[in-house]
C-alpha cells in the first residue's frame, strides 16, 4: 500500500490518538458513522455573511470579505454558496484530533501541564508560505480524511481523555468559527475550558460574539510589517492588531506567538517595534513567545532561525518592559521557563512541552508573593 504524506499525517494523528486513547476513537467512529470523505459534505448555514444581488453572498467572517458567486467557495475553501445561501462545510467535521499538552499550543499561563483536547478542520483564510500544517490548512474538506464529531461528542471525548481544555488549533479556527463557538458552549457546560489558537485574522463582530465563551486564546502575530502579511501570508496586519486589542478589551486570557523567519521578519527594528506596541496596547503581562522557524511548504530555501536571533528577540522583549517573554521550538533553552518579574526566581520550569516543576502557589510567586497573571485553576 502506498499513501501520500498528507494521508500519513492525518492517519498519524489519528493513530497516535488511537494508541493513547483507543476507547475514544472507537466510540467516536461508532457514534458518528465513522469517517467522512469524498462524498457530499454536510452543510450548515454560515453565521456571518450577507446576501448580495444575483445569488451572490459576501462573507463577513474574516477580513478577506470574499464575495462569492453561486456554486463557488471563499478563499478558505470550506464555505460554499449554494443558491444564494452561504454554508460552512466543516461544522463538526474534524480532520485532526489529538490530546496535546497545553504547552504545545503554546499557552504557558493556562493550567500548566494539563491536556488540551485539540481539533481542526480543513481550510484556512490565509496562505502562509511557511505553514507548518499546510496538509490540512491548505486543502478543502473533501480532500482530507475527516470525522463527524459534533460538539457534545467532542467534549465527551475530551473528558474521557482527561483533558481539562479543548483547543481549536492546527489549522485556522476562524474558518470553522461556528464549530468553535458550539464546542465552547458545550465545553463550558461540561466544566472544560475552551481555548483557541488563531491567526487573529477575523472581523470584529464574530470575534466579539465568541470571545466571551473562551477561557484563553493564542494569536499568531506573524509580523509587525504589513508588507510581510501581504507577501508571505496573503493577509493584512491591521485587522490582526485590531483583534488583539479587542481580545484585551474583552479580558480573555491572551498569549501572542511570533514565528521568527530568518531575514523576513526577524530584524531588531521590527521586533523592537512589535514589542513596544504590545507593551503599549496590550500591557506588559501578555506573554510573547518568539518561536523558531523550520523550512516547510513554500518556504524551503531558508534555514531554521538561528538561536542567536531568538535570543536577541528575547532581550529586546525584556528591554521593552514585557514581563513574560518566551522562546519556542528550542527545547531545553532557559527561555522556556517562567520567571517571576518581581524576584527573578524560576516559577515554572519546562523542557519542550513538558513541565518539570511548577512552584506557583495560588497563582503567585512563593518567594516574593507577586501575583502572576494567567488561568491557573
Amino acid at each position: 500500500m502506498t499513501i501520500d504524506r498528507r494521508k500519513l499525517i492525518v492517519l498519524g494523528t489519528a493513530g497516535a490518538a488511537a494508541a493513547l486513547h483507543p476507547p475514544f476513537l472507537r466510540a467516536a467512529a461508532a457514534q458518528s458513522g465513522s469517517s467522512v470523505s469524498g462524498g457530499e459534505l454536510p452543510a450548515r448555514e454560515a453565521s456571518w455573511y450577507k446576501k448580495l444581488d444575483e445569488g451572490r453572498v459576501e462573507c463577513e467572517l474574516c477580513p478577506q470579505g470574499c464575495k462569492v458567486a453561486d456554486m463557488e467557495r471563499g478563499m478558505c475553501g470550506n464555505r460554499e454558496n449554494r443558491g444564494g445561501t452561504y454554508y460552512t462545510l466543516v461544522h463538526s467535521l474534524a480532520c485532526s484530533i489529538h490530546t496535546d499538552p497545553v504547552e504545545k499550543k503554546p499557552l504557558f499561563h493556562v493550567l500548566p501541564g494539563e491536556k488540551a483536547f485539540s481539533f481542526a478542520t480543513a481550510g484556512c483564510n490565509v496562505e502562509c508560505k511557511f505553514c507548518q500544517n499546510w496538509e490540512i490548512s491548505q486543502f478543502r474538506p473533501e480532500q482530507v480524511q475527516a470525522y463527524n464529531l459534533p460538539p457534545d461528542k467532542l467534549v465527551a471525548a475530551a473528558l474521557r481523555n482527561g483533558a481539562r481544555l479543548t483547543a481549536a488549533t492546527y489549522g485556522e479556527p476562524v474558518v470553522f468559527w461556528e464549530y468553535v463557538r458550539d464546542v465552547a458552549i458545550a465545553a463550558n457546560a461540561a466544566g472544560v475550558k475552551p481555548t483557541v489558537v488563531t491567526n487573529g485574522f477575523i472581523q470584529e463582530k464574530p470575534l466579539r460574539e465568541v470571545l466571551p465563551l473562551l477561557s484563553a486564546i493564542k494569536v499568531d502575530l506573524k509580523s509587525f510589517r504589513d508588507e510581510f502579511y501581504q507577501q508571505q501570508v496573503r493577509g493584512k496586519l491591521e485587522p490582526v492588531l485590531k483583534s488583539l486589542q479587542v481580545i484585551k478589551e474583552i479580558g480573555v486570557w491572551l498569549e501572542v506567538v511570533v514565528l521568527l523567519v530568518p531575514t523576513l521578519n526577524d530584524s531588531a527594528a521590527e521586533v523592537s517595534d512589535l514589542c513596544a506596541w504590545v507593551r503599549a496596547k496590550l500591557g506588559p503581562d501578555v506573554p510573547v513567545h518568539f518561536t523558531r522557524f523550520h523550512p516547510t511548504y513554500r518556504l524551503t530555501d531558508l534555514p531554521p532561525t538561528p538561536v542567536q536571533s531568538l535570543e536577541r528577540a528575547w532581550k529586546i522583549g525584556h528591554d521593552a518592559g514585557l514581563n513574560y517573554v518566551y522562546l519556542g521550538n528550542v527545547p531545553g533553552h532557559p527561555g522556556e521557563n517562567t520567571t517571576c518579574p518581581g524576584c527573578g526566581g524560576i516559577l515554572i520550569r519546562r523542557v519542550g512541552f513538558q513541565v518539570l516543576s511548577n512552584r506557583l502557589v495560588n497563582g503567585s510567586c512563593p518567594d516574593c508573593h507577586r501575583s502572576i497573571p494567567g488561568v491557573w485553576s
Binding site: 458567486a69 471563499g74 496562505e127 499546510w134 513554500r298
Partner: protein, 321 residues
C-alpha cells in the same frame, strides 16, 4: 480581427504567409497563434446534439483551427499514438452548462482516428460526482475511452509557478503527455470570463486561494506551469449555448444560443474569442461591459505577456469550417 475560411488558412499556411506573424512555435510545439477554428452547431438548451451534428461541428472546428483537410488529420498533427491524452472538461455548472458529452465524444473519436488508442484517452474533471452531474459516465476501464475524476489524487508536494503554489493533479503532472482544455463560453463573476484557461483551475488542489484581483495573475500562473504549458495541445470551447451573465454557475437568464464550437491551439486567442462573444451578447441586451460591471478580463493581457498566446483582437483570425 480577420475572418477566413479553412481553405484560405490552409493556403496561407502552405505559402508561409503567416510565418512571423501568426504561424509559429510556442513552447516547442506547433501552434497557430491567434487562430480560432469555428463551426456551427445549434441546439436548444438542454437538448443534445445529434451524433452526426456533433461530429461535423467538432471535426470542422478542429480542421479549421490548423488548416487541415479533416478533423482526423488535424488531430494527427496535434497528437501522437504514443500520447496519453487528457481532456479536462469544466463541469462546475452542471448538465446544462458543461461541455456536451456528444461533443467530447466526437473529439475522442477524432483523436482515436488519428492513431491514439482509446485506452490512452482520458476525459477528466475534479471529481466523479461532477462528471456524473454533467451527464458523463464514469469509465475506469473499457474499450471506448476513460472518464474519471481527479478524486484528490494530487502531487504530494506543492510546486510554484509565479504567484501560485499548488499541488497539481497527477493526471496532468504524471499520467498525461498531452492535454486538451474543453470548456464552455460563460461569464465569471470575478475573472470576467471562464472558458478554456480558467478551466485549468480544476487541476490544482487550492483554486479557492486564487480568485483575488480578477484571478490575475493566477490564471496565467497555472497555465504557464510546465505541466500545462508543455503539454497543452488544444483548447475546445462548447459555445452551442453560452452564458453572458450570472456565471460561473448556470443562470437561466444569462443563457444565449451562440451556436458555435471553437477550437484553437492558442489558449489565449480561444478565450479572447469567448470574451468578445460574451461582450457582444451583453451589448445586445443592454448590459454593461464586463469591465463596467466590475469584472474586467485582466488575465488575457497577462497571459499574452507571458507568451501563452495572442490577446490582440487585431491579430485574431477566425477561421470558419
Amino acid at each position: 480581427m480577420r475572418k477566413l475560411t479553412r481553405r484560405e488558412l490552409a493556403l496561407m499556411l502552405g505559402a508561409g504567409a503567416l510565418t512571423g506573424t501568426a504561424h509559429g512555435r510556442l513552447w516547442g510545439r506547433s501552434v497557430q497563434p491567434g487562430v480560432v477554428g469555428l463551426a456551427e452547431a445549434r441546439a436548444v438548451l438542454g437538448t443534445p446534439l445529434g451524433p452526426e451534428t456533433a461530429r461535423l461541428a467538432m471535426a470542422g472546428a478542429l480542421a479549421a483551427s490548423v488548416g487541415a483537410e479533416s478533423g482526423a488529420s488535424a488531430a494527427a498533427t496535434l497528437f501522437s499514438p504514443k500520447d496519453v491524452v487528457g481532456i479536462k472538461v469544466n463541469c462546475l455548472a452542471g448538465r446544462v452548462l458543461s461541455p456536451r458529452v456528444e461533443l467530447v465524444e466526437a473529439l475522442v473519436d477524432l483523436i482515436a482516428e488519428a492513431g491514439v488508442d482509446r485506452g490512452r484517452i482520458i476525459v477528466f474533471e475534479r471529481s466523479n460526482r461532477e462528471l456524473q452531474r454533467a451527464g458523463f459516465t464514469i469509465r475506469e476501464s473499457g474499450p471506448s475511452y476513460l472518464c474519471v475524476g481527479i478524486n484528490n489524487d494530487y502531487d504530494r508536494e506543492p510546486s510554484t509557478s509565479g504567484a501560485i503554489g499548488s499541488c497539481f493533479a497527477r493526471m496532468v503532472s504524471t499520467t498525461c503527455s498531452a492535454l486538451v482544455s474543453f470548456g464552455v463560453v460563460k461569464d465569471h463573476d470575478l475573472a470576467g470570463v471562464s472558458a478554456g484557461m480558467k478551466n485549468w483551475y480544476g487541476v490544482i488542489h487550492n483554486p479557492n486561494k486564487y480568485h483575488q484581483n480578477g484571478c490575475d495573475p493566477y490564471i496565467t500562473d497555472v497555465a504557464r506551469h510546465p505541466y500545462i504549458r508543455n503539454k497543452l495541445r488544444l483548447t475546445i470551447l462548447d459555445g452551442v449555448n453560452a452564458q453572458c451573465h450570472g456565471g460561473p454557475a448556470f443562470r437561466q437568464g444569462g443563457i444565449f444560443e451562440l451556436g458555435m464550437v471553437a477550437a484553437s491551439t492558442d489558449p489565449v486567442a480561444a478565450d479572447l474569442w469567448a470574451w468578445r462573444e460574451i461582450e457582444s451578447e451583453r451589448a445586445k441586451r443592454g448590459l454593461p461591459t464586463l469591465e463596467a460591471a466590475g469584472r474586467p478580463v485582466r488575465f488575457l493581457a497577462t497571459a499574452a505577456k507571458q507568451g501563452l498566446g495572442v490577446d490582440n483582437p487585431e491579430k485574431l483570425l477566425l477561421v470558419s469550417a
